[in-house]
Amino acid sequence: MIEIQNLTKRYDGNTVVDDVSLTVETGQIAALVGTSGSGKTTLLRMINRLVEPSAGRVLIDGQDTAAIAPYLLRRRIGYAIQGHGLFPHRTVAQNIATVPRLLNWPEAEIRARVDELLAMFQLDPTQFRDRMPHELSGGQQQRVGVARALAARPELLLMDEPFGALDPVIRAKAQEDLRALQRRLGTTLVIVTHDMEEAVALGDRIAVMDKGRLLQYAPPAEILTRPATPFVQELIGTGERPFRLLSLSRVADLVQPGEAPGAPISAEASLRDALADCLWTGRDRLPVDGGGVVTLAALRERAAGADIGSAARASAGSPAR
């Protein structure tokens, strides 16, 4: 659990982060969203003390981070950034082994861990171990960057626009993989993004920041249905709101008894996909794989923000699309 308490950062009288407090529960994903200059990156960098706070403190599992030497603190916290930040003069394996080396793991254990991580990120170890970063595609570089951040099994992972340099197709896949991985490892994750779509797709809770202040910190459904300020509403984008809401839940959540003709839809698909299917095929009810139907009326109701508990997002086991 990370507790951020009254964290403030000033540069020459300029307040970049202004008295922000929030708590991220163990195993949850918090997405920090805001425009550039909102202070979200500074807030993230104060957690691993790449930036020293002017006031306030950060507790990790109850321990004040100010009491730990910064480099020792950072070895316990995974860190992945936009443009991956791989060391161009080191091989993929050496890059991934950075933190285990700093922690003096035995060589055999490091080697095994590197191969395990490469396999986890769908990179064949024999093929990729000895490559240099510039010999990888953008998506592969990004995956190696995340693998490096996870190498020493940190309980907390910080990510700063990790998918910023990826094209949309690879990006969606990377988000999906990250979500699945995080669920599997139980890592607590704080991710900075300027993209509300990404925040909704990944975050258990979303922290919206503007001009250094935290405007709202809530589950995605709540952010979408009850934006705290006009700025939050603007960031969501009114045109996108119903679709983002639907993307939060799976068909399984809205299935009713009944029967319908035509091609069935998977229970794992998102409600957004179900709506798209209804509109495209001109049906007002779709049969669901494994029995039951999902109706256009129910989808419309859900898209208008009805019947959404804050638990809805958390119960969705797979990443929304």
Binding site: Y71, L86, F87, H134
Partner: protein, 398 residues
């Protein structure tokens, strides 16, 4: 895709090689000018002798062969490897011709007469050397092959010198007369060039790193070094003579440490001061060129300041720092000649002795090894930089 013929930009398809034409003109001028000067003794002006007349009965044949090689170079269809071979072969041939001329022209038993290389020799050497280097740069050989070629060039030219074939040439006669002195001054020259470089690295790397970490100091430090760099070298030597002379005379123990107004000490200090700016500024530029993301990640993953410097910043800045080493080494090998003026030793000793005696051969004995040393150091470090370069290039596309 249509099968459009792609217009070729390769010069090989041209019937005429423009650089080849230039080299041929230089070479033909060289053939038309005297290859050597025959002098009754080492000081008087001599008379020029053309290649054709300088090496005996084969002379005119050799001249025709060299002319043929130069003319062949004009053709744009000549393969680059052949061009390289012609150039390299030409250089060796011109050297051998010089030795042959010395043997042929010097009367038996005459130790006073001198056969010195003249304009024709230098132009021919230049023409063939240009032909070879031009071909070399167009061949885009692998690094390993270029290292090999450098080694081969040293071995071949060294071999020609060691074989004794050139012993009759004026410069080698001067060498023969002061063999021991030559090697002592050669050692001294290397001490001057490498010693000042070593000192500059020892002091300049920490300064460069310091101003990288503390940007506020940059302007002041670089400003001072810039001013140092603009002081003319002779003036700097001049300033140092009284300063160090005074220190040596008045500070107890200073003279025992080797501090003196003249000699190798002030020369080393001057070369060291000239080396500081390139080392410091290239260290700064190299460190600043390290991708910000890599540096950020290094700190973010928990490296200490020292680990970031040693493990990430320095390895990535190394090619740029080596460029500074190249600049400094080549610069100091040349500048060290001036040390000869203040008793600092080195090849400059021969240059200034020769100038005093108006013995150009003695001047050459100092100048030629200096040039050779600078060339070899420059090429070797260029290759070294390139060897380390690939690690730095990072793909920016997604």
């Amino acid at each position: 895709m249509t099968d459009m013929p792609i217009p070729s930009a390769r010069p090989a398809s041209r019937p005429l090689s423009r650089p080849g034409l230039l080299f041929a003109l230089i070479g033909v001028a060289g053939l038309a000018l005297p290859l050597v000067q025959f002098k009754a003794n080492r000081i008087v002006l001599g008379e020029g002798v053309l290649l054709g007349a300088a090496i005996g009965p084969l002379g005119w044949g050799a001249m025709a062969l060299l002319a043929l090689a130069l003319i062949a170079g004009i053709s744009g269809r000549l393969p680059m490897t052949l061009r390289l071979a012609l150039g390299a072969g030409g250089v060796v041939a011109v050297l051998l011709a010089l030795g042959a001329a010395a043997r042929f022209l010097t009367p038996e038993g005459n130790t006073m007469a001198r056969v010195a290389p003249a304009a024709g020799f230098w132009l021919l050497l230049l023409a063939f050397a240009l032909m070879a280097t031009d071909a070399l740069s167009r061949l885009r050989l692998t690094l390993a092959r270029r290292w090999l070629l450098l080694a081969a060039a040293i071995v071949v030219i060294g071999g020609v010198l060691w074989s004794g074939w050139l012993d009759g040439v004026s410069v080698m006669r001067e060498y023969e007369a002061r063999k021991d002195l030559f090697w002592r001054e050669a050692g001294r020259h290397l001490v001057l060039a490498f010693g000042s470089l070593g000192g500059a690295l020892l002091v300049g790397l920490p300064i460069g790193t310091g101003i990288y970490l503390l940007p506020r100091l940059r302007r002041a430090v670089l400003g001072v070094l810039n001013i140092l760099q603009t002081i003319p070298s002779l003036a700097l030597f001049g300033i140092m003579i009284p300063i160090f002379g005074w220190i040596a005379a008045n500070l107890p123990g200073a003279a025992e440490l080797g501090i003196a107004g003249i000699g190798i000490f002030p020369a080393l200090v001057a070369l060291f001061l000239y080396s500081l700016l390139p080392v410091v500024s290239n260290t700064l530029v190299g460190l600043r060129g390290v991708p910000a993301a890599a540096r950020d990640a290094a700190y973010g993953l928990g490296m200490t300041e020292g680990q970031v410097l040693r493990g990430v910043l320095f390895p990535l800045a190394l090619p740029v720092i080596l460029t500074a080493v190249r600049i400094v080494l080549v610069q100091n090998i040349g500048l060290a000649v001036i040390a000869g003026l203040i008793g600092g030793g080195g090849f400059g000793t021969f240059v200034f002795q020769g100038l005093n005696q108006t013995a150009m051969d003695l001047v050459l004995l100092g100048a030629l090894p200096t040039i050779a040393l600078a060339l070899v150091a420059g090429i070797a470090l260029d290759l070294l930089v390139e060897t380390l370069e690939p690690a730095r290039t990072e793909r920016t596309d997604a």
